[in-house]
Each structure stands twice: as C-alpha cells, then as structure tokens.
Symmetry: D2
Subunit: 133 residues, 4 copies
Amino acid sequence: MHTYIIRVRGFHLDLYGHVNNARYLEFLEEARWDLLEADRGLDWWHEQGLAFLVASITINYRRPAGLGVDLEIRSSMRRLGGRSAVLRQEVVNLATDEVVADADVTFVVICQETGRPVALDGALREAFGGDPA
Amino acid sequence: MHTYIIRVRGFHLDLYGHVNNARYLEFLEEARWDLLEADRGLDWWHEQGLAFLVASITINYRRPAGLGVDLEIRSSMRRLGGRSAVLRQEVVNLATDEVVADADVTFVVICQETGRPVALDGALREAFGGDPA
Amino acid sequence: MHTYIIRVRGFHLDLYGHVNNARYLEFLEEARWDLLEADRGLDWWHEQGLAFLVASITINYRRPAGLGVDLEIRSSMRRLGGRSAVLRQEVVNLATDEVVADADVTFVVICQETGRPVALDGALREAFGGDPA
Amino acid sequence: MHTYIIRVRGFHLDLYGHVNNARYLEFLEEARWDLLEADRGLDWWHEQGLAFLVASITINYRRPAGLGVDLEIRSSMRRLGGRSAVLRQEVVNLATDEVVADADVTFVVICQETGRPVALDGALREAFGGDPA
C-alpha cells in the first residue's frame, strides 16, 4: 500500500468549511503522481512513451474534513486486468482515523504515439504489483 | 432535462490539451447550481434551511475535450428514492454531438441545523420532478 | 471595452462565503479568452504561431463577492508598448455596481517557435486597439 | 525567512506543460498557511478572533516551471506598517536555483466580529517579526 499525506488548507474549503468535492480528485491525483514517482519514476514512463489515463472514478464522500486536518491517501491495487486496472484510494483523517472519502479509480495505460491502451503485462504489470507475464 | 453550456478555456486544460479530470466535477457542479436556480431559486433553499449534499459520484471519462469547445451538460433525475436520489449528468461536445463524460451523482438533502438528511417528499420531491407525496 | 459576465457559484467560495483569491485570476483569464475570441479568434493566433503570455499581474481585492452574484469583467487596454502591454481588468458586482477587484495584467506576445516576445506592431497592434504601424 | 516546498504535479500544469498562473496563487497561499501554523498556530488566530486578509498581490511570472520540479516558496516580511504589511514571497526552482515567480502580498489583519482591520501591534506585530509596540 502506498500512502501520502496532504494537510487541508483554507483554499481547499467550501463555504461550509469542508474540503470541496472536486478538490478530492486533485488529492487523489497528487497521491497517484507520488506513487508513480516512488515506483519507476516519471522518466521511465516518458522513455517508454506510455501515459496513465483515468477511465472512470467512483468516489464516496463519507465525512467532512476541515481546516488543518492531515489526510492520508492510502492507495492499493484492487483489480489488475489485461488492459485496465482499478486502484483503490482511501482518504483517512489522521486525527480520528476515520475514512473521509474512498474511491475506485479505473485506469488504462496508453501508448502516447497511438493514443491506444496497451496490455498490462511485463514491466508494466510488475509496476502495478502483479506478476510479470 | 436541464441543459447548461460551458466553453472550454485554456486554464481548464492539462498538459495534453484536454480538460482536466477534476475540472469536470466543477462543470457538473456549475450545471447543478444553475438547475437549482432555474427551479425554486437559491433563496428557497436558504429559507427552508436545506442544503444539497453530494454523497457519491461515478464519472466516466469517454473522450477528450479541447480548447474552445462548447460542452453541454444535460442533467436529468435518474432515480428518486425516499431519502436519496441520483442525478444523471452527461457532458456532450456540441461540435460533434459526442458524449465526452457522463456521471451519476447521488445526493441527499440535509437540514442545515441538524446536518441530517431529510425525506424527499412534498415540495422537495416536486422540485426534483417527482410527484408530491 | 470588452465585457464578460460570470455568476459566482458555490465552488468559487472560500469558508467565509467569498470568492477565493486565486479564483479571481481564473475569472480574469476567462474574460481574456473571450476577448481574444471576440476579436480575431483563437485560430488566427494559432495560424500566426503566436501566444499570449502574462508577465505580471497586480490585483487589488476591494470588496467580497458572494454566492449567486453576477460579476462583470470589464477589460480595456491601458498601455500599449513596443513589446509589452498592460490590460486593465475590473470586476464589478452588477447588483451593486461596486468594483470588487481590479487588476493590471502586463503581457507579451511570444512566437511559439522561438519562445521569444515579438514586436506589437501591424495586425497585432490593431488587435489590441492600437494604430497599425 | 520561512520556506516551504511544493512539488509540481500534472494537474498544476497548463497545455504548455507549465504551472498555470492562477495555481501560483494557491502555492503562495499554501506557504502562508504553513507560516501561520509554524508561528502561533491557527488556534491562536481563532481564539483572538482575528483573520488574515489579502488586500492586493503583485506577482511577476519570471520563468516557467514544469512537471516534477520542486519549488521552494521563500517568504519574508518586506514592510510592516501600522495597519497593513507586505509579505515578499519568492518561488525558486530548487533544481536550477532560479526564481520562477515573485510576489508582494499586501495584507491586513481583521477582527472577525467587526470585519475591520486592527492595528498591527503587540503580539500581532511580534508574530510578523516586528518589535512589540
């Protein structure tokens, strides 16, 4: 499991003093960038001519989160298919240990030249924690 | 069905020249604010002490959308339950008539004083296109 | 003078119920995209291989603006130099006719191939309301 | 001088692959929240019934910053007046040690009850690095 902490700032909040719905998607994306860096690094992706593309997101907003709270984003692979995969991302309030939001992020990896999804095998499958084909 | 048009601007785009994932959630929210205004108006909600609260969103990113494109957000009630409801929102590229993204937005209406969901009946049910209880 | 209206939505607001500081820069940018479209159109800029680049912004936050307010962004050229220019942008609350914020936006036009500023003469000078050289 | 590091992520970028203009204002604000926390903490401000209010910002965009770069925001008090002050904030690319952007942020401190600026003396003046009155 990959973890990444983001502290809630004033500009993250809506008029109720809670983190705004759209902002959570940025938090999840920030954690995914860190995950990619922590593994092979962004250069590897660039050299391979590959890009990570989000196909769909299901996000549940479970509890509000306010100013100054540290949110830990916990990411783990939920399902690793042949050409698409689902990353599970939970946002946990570190002060209360409660889940604030959770999301299933379905993604594909595309070849930047063709724009088409590639098979998730070999080094790519390994990068996502699966066995190499 | 409620419709609302947003033109894609430079600051909506990511480095691939496509509308950013998180930004679509702002587009959907903008359309929902317009929908609430077009119906009873925001004052009605305020006077009733009620607030619209998103519980979960499932969004599918189907095609990229680039600079200058007019996106029409088409919103219609998909399911109207006793205490929660699902609004269907499609984002259509008006130049090509293709669906760029679609989303199911599950929401509740909360009483601002208690913070708890209220029953979707009476004027509230009518506001969402259902028959008054 | 070019005018453009933006209605304040919930996701524009901070926890005090006022439009967030950073968001005003998006409002100003949205008005500038509309201004460029209303003049020669974005295709013209693309065909010429030119891009609009902001060098500096001075923005004064004069009054708060809340939910549902219509803000009119009024843009006019303040100074048109040889290689840089200053666009004046005022944000006016249409309900009260008060200035909510005003900004001086200094920009250059760069050649996309070289990345360097070009002289603001000929068709470009005309586009910004000056006499063609 | 207060320092704070932000790594540039994909969703910070515009279609040229550079950090978006409006996003810099969020970076500056994030550093200011950290500065307030590092000093008396947010609770102190809340207990005193005081709030930090930005009156104007002058920002110069000097160089582009791209994906994966670590930006250090360096904040120091530039001018400490009787009722307003100017914080200088520089954004430095840590890989090249070049200034990417710099800003002068003029602010006041308001009493949350009255909404009016208070004198920057006593503990408040000390908090901003000045001598207590």
